[in-house]
Amino acid sequence: MKVTFPHMGNAWIVIQALFETLNVDVAVPPPTSKGTLNLGTKLAPESSCLPLKINLGNYIEAAAKGADTIAITGGIGPCRFGYYGEVERQILRDAGYSYEVVILEPPDGSLWGLAKRIRYLAGRHNSWTKILKAMRFAYRKSVALDEVEDMIHAARPRLLEPLAAEKLYSKAKQHLIEASEDKGLEEAVFRVQQSIKEGQAAFRGEKPLRVGVVGEIYTILDPFSSLDVEQQLGNLGVEVNRSIYLSSWVGQHVFQGLAQGYRPLRDYPRLAKPYLPHFVGGHGQETVGAAVQFAREGADGIIQLLPLGCMPEIVASSVLPRIQADYRIPIMTLTVDEHSGRAGVQTRLEAFVDLLERRRNRTLTREDVLNVARE
């Protein structure tokens, strides 16, 4: 058995750590590329959402590395993600890939059923104590990754050399990949902190604009799918804050909600209440709640990211205009799919950042603010 799993930003680092600690043979799919997406798009239903297309591409590329088993999380919706596993199984079967798909979820709510599936992947040679220990370490690794990423968000607009932050980021990631105990994690985080402090000392510019990124989890966590929105914003001198971090996803999906993650999601539903008092699947309600939070914290603007056709986020985007009006904060919705191009995204981001700047300098009319969401 050789296990693979779909990419989602840095998630692979955590999942690989988990399996490797347990001595499970894994094949990490090659980093997602345009080619990956093309492979997936050919097999996927045309109107399926972008993450499904990328997932399929990842599996095909992992098959070439000898993978024969897919581990994916599930859930009972109501958004499409909960049904990805089964649809992907059928698509791969008909395309001639003999993959076994193991959906890591409590089938019919049974935690015992989930335990059996984990046991199946982990094999006999691992005791439950060892499995739990590995899971906890993987979780801490995800928190460390989030800490680093958050610092990078702050560093991008403040480091003078444009690529300095990216270099720091990839070096830190490498350290975290290699870390096999807590000490390594702490050290990696500490080192980034130090380097940023030093690099920032020379920064004399005005306070960077702050933008909150909210929306669908995959596009938020996976820079390939969003065409590096966060990095692009950083390059435009913006400090990014975001609604969901990787460890929250790990806490939700791997720990069935028992761990909250670096950025807890639990306040979002309450904040969303006046605008959307019910969950709508995916992270639709979290998007609305996070938008309220960013607005209250005085962010300069908010960007909602979503794959074309994403059901929960379409609901969220229909209520965001009310938050925009109530808090007088510009909110832009950015939809991506397999046809999205970097240039197009860049143009929209530039226009948005320009608007935020003019707004800060008070050279803006009311129409400008209200129009951004609809552009």
Partner: protein, 341 residues
Amino acid sequence: MKVGYPRAVHYYDYFPFWAGFFQGLDLELIASPLTNRKILEQGLKKASDETCLPIKLLAGHIQALSGMGVDALFLPRMVSVEEKTYLCPKLLGLPESVFAAVPEGMRILTLDFNVRLGKRRVIRTLEEFAEGLGKTRAEARQGFLLAQNWQERYESRRHEGRSFGESMGEFDPRLAGEAGRTIRFDNPDRDESAAVLTVALVGHPYLTQDNYANLNLVAKLGERAHVRFIEEMEPQGIEQGLQGLHKSVFWSHARKIMGAGAAYIGDEAVDGVIYLSCFGCGTDSMTQDMVARIARQQHKPYMVLTLDEHSGEAGLVTRLEAFLDMTERRVQRESNFSAHG
């Protein structure tokens, strides 16, 4: 007090339930007019561009209530109608996501309908709702009984094979007069012998039964074929159709479409299957793909028609004719084959 119910999305499945409930409260619940061009156009103006056609139509129907002299709009949040399933996320986002379409000053009545929380919670929700309208808890419970009764009656009429117009017409007087005529399937004067084919039209009832949205597809299809719908299939048939899945489908409507679609594909009395979908439907993107796979495996004539606000009648007719011709040839070939074999 007269309350309006938009003739869109869950109207097509659950209106009898809500009509019964309001009847029990001694309030009048009336549906908006049949979909027409103006409703579609107004819907497009007030709904998000990216959303699906049915939600756009819903936005239009909400606006259409303003001319009807209703005192309020009723738009429940239908979360779940049976165990272990939900409705579509976009329906969970009602009514908030269509607030922009609500006419100025119109009161909105809503409640969360969620059977996953248990029957007692459902009844309590209905009681609270009734109290908000100055009715008693007893009246709410009365209404709930009537609601269940009407809904069951509607569903069993459909299982008997009665048309949508006839079955729904019992609870929605407007439909009895108007929509019945356009459905050829229940035209008693129709020459049965002319139709040699039986075609199943699978898809959301708000597409298959909204004759404006589907460009009168059912009537056109009815000229050459007996038309079967997913609502006609009994739960056991749907269950049967879902057998091959490794994980159960958790949206009730998609479950029905998937199960009935698969069952019709496996049914020898059905010559072909048409999946009627619409642009922007998230759940269809999954079920449509799975139904297509089953049709391919079983060599059943199968076609997908995707509606959107720009769909033209001409294109639809051409594709429909071609599909029916192909299916007819298949049926003839197979009957020749068995006659000689």
